[in-house]
Symmetry: C2
Subunit: 394 residues, 2 copies
Amino acid sequence: MFQLFVLILFAKIAAIVFEMIRLPPVIGEIIVGIIIGNTFLFDFLELGTNIEVLSVLAELGVIFLLFSIGLETPFSELKKVGGTAILVAVLGVVFPFIFGYLLIAYSGYPQIEALFIGAAMTATSVGITARVIKDMNLMNSIESKVIIGAAVIDDILGLVVLAMVSGIASGGALDIVNTVIVAALAVLFVVAVVFVGSGMLPKFRKHTPDFKTLPRPLSLRRKISPLAVALIVCFGLSAMASYVGLAAIVGAFLAGMVFAEFKDIFNVEEQFGAINEFLVPFFFLYIGISVNLSTFGGIAVLALIISFVAIATKFIGCGIGAYRLGAKSAAIVGIGMAPRGEVGLIIASVGLSIGSISNDMFSVVVFMSLLTTLVAPPLLTYAFGRKTGRMAKF
Amino acid sequence: MFQLFVLILFAKIAAIVFEMIRLPPVIGEIIVGIIIGNTFLFDFLELGTNIEVLSVLAELGVIFLLFSIGLETPFSELKKVGGTAILVAVLGVVFPFIFGYLLIAYSGYPQIEALFIGAAMTATSVGITARVIKDMNLMNSIESKVIIGAAVIDDILGLVVLAMVSGIASGGALDIVNTVIVAALAVLFVVAVVFVGSGMLPKFRKHTPDFKTLPRPLSLRRKISPLAVALIVCFGLSAMASYVGLAAIVGAFLAGMVFAEFKDIFNVEEQFGAINEFLVPFFFLYIGISVNLSTFGGIAVLALIISFVAIATKFIGCGIGAYRLGAKSAAIVGIGMAPRGEVGLIIASVGLSIGSISNDMFSVVVFMSLLTTLVAPPLLTYAFGRKTGRMAKF
């Protein structure tokens, strides 16, 4: 209990400090984790013996985090975003994945490790990008809409890539047939949930009378707390995803997407916000604690190269996707898509937990995630300022 | 993850079913726990190896539960309740504690076990009693006010008794000096937190300008989420309570009481409600799973006797305390105070975790808690109906 208190205290203080210096609180939590994991604090908090408890809290945290990200991703909204965002998203996933994979594979690392690193480089952090745009009060610019839309699609594509990669990893051999089956299963699961949950259920609802007007025996719904339903669906789809060989978080994300369609009757956003505020920091602390600085000297060069490739491939991929908006706007989109955050770290931690990537490589991904996130806000501020001539508030 | 999902699913379904048949959902969760713990489900869910994870979630759940109970117990409100409620509360704690202790001690059980059982019989469940009164729409009757006020004071007294008993248990020997020191320390901690947190801080606030009007560098508060502050204080006081040898939950309860004074600026009730809805069921599931039915035959008689003593001593103790209201009202108060719930189970689980009470005795307390809770609503409905002539809705 004392250890838990110290962890919460440090994480919250770091988050508050980073908020004050206008950096994403997430970065503060990861850095606190790195400090705890690499100093006397690790022994002081007896984390050697308590790491399992922390890992359970971290896993619960990331389940709830993905549900919440899904909750902000209604399928019906996605359909409106249009072709540019889809093009930006797809190219912004394909470029980093291929170049990340090639770089690692040709540096002599195992194929599966290269696949995981490629996958971890795909997904843009919606949260960080949206935050910068909001801070600059540019939510209604065309670039912002494209960036946010593409970042959301990115998350989904990133999770599909994760589903494929982790399926391949659990399958063992890297043969084409197996890969195709796994990829097909992953896509099938995602499409099935989206089709039934986000497509059919809302339509079905329109054809039934309003729940509230049903006669008393049928108005069971009024007795049931929305949060209870959300928890059951969230953990149910997570368990199903695990069962078909995908990461549990993919199920949690899809559950969130389904609930996003029912915000009017099951409004659980605030409640999940509260649970997240308690549990999610444990995930980022855990990420930080898993980073081993003592061997970092040997991989620092690789970490810098990967970070550079991560930024360059997103810039080129997304820039090409957004080129029809003009060169300046394409540059804004390319920069805005650079930050990797939660989803990249999640993919890397899945790889770490099943032994597909090494501790060193995990540290590389964390470093890449931190650097892309730190670099993007000032560059984005500059790029927006150059186009609009507006003084950046950031 | 799959196990967690099944546990959540069962707990939520049981809670919903019990809600529908108008029994406290808590009972449903405990019964599901008993079923899981005593059938093939225990092995099916691999709880033998995963029990540690469940126990961490249960411990977190009970910390948050006590914080929330504290949150509904502002010190300033307690002062208004008046002499009758205090008399009802004190006599309603003293009678069950002494008779419970004597019964167990003279049945040949160890002193410390008898103390724990006595302690577990003291605290009335505010939640269950308040729920019955609310269902009967009698919130404004004098009996209701006395019952609710006394039940709240009961919780505090119950936790003070727990603090004393667990201090004695950790001290080993049962000598008078040790007992007095431990009791003094427990009372001192409680009084100090109540005095500083609920007494001094609110006064201090009145003498400072409104936070919102402070100049910018000082308006740090706006950056800090109330939930983060609440989590830090909750876990901080829990850790301090552990440190001085009290149960961590005593600290959590006091933290809640302190926050109850600051509801206007730190409104965390809903957020803790959400966290509770997720975590608290794990505590009651854990309680149920800890009950061993296979040896229950041997202790069934004791369980029935304890339950009878629990109801009779509360009835007599509280009845005497409320006698100035008249005989019929005193009877209502005596019955209304019968349900033991959360706090009694918490006390028993503390005793179980430090090895002071046996598994069998723990089962006895759970049975007592279930029976007193099941008996009270119909009796209370009858007693209120007899006095008011009102048809009971319950």
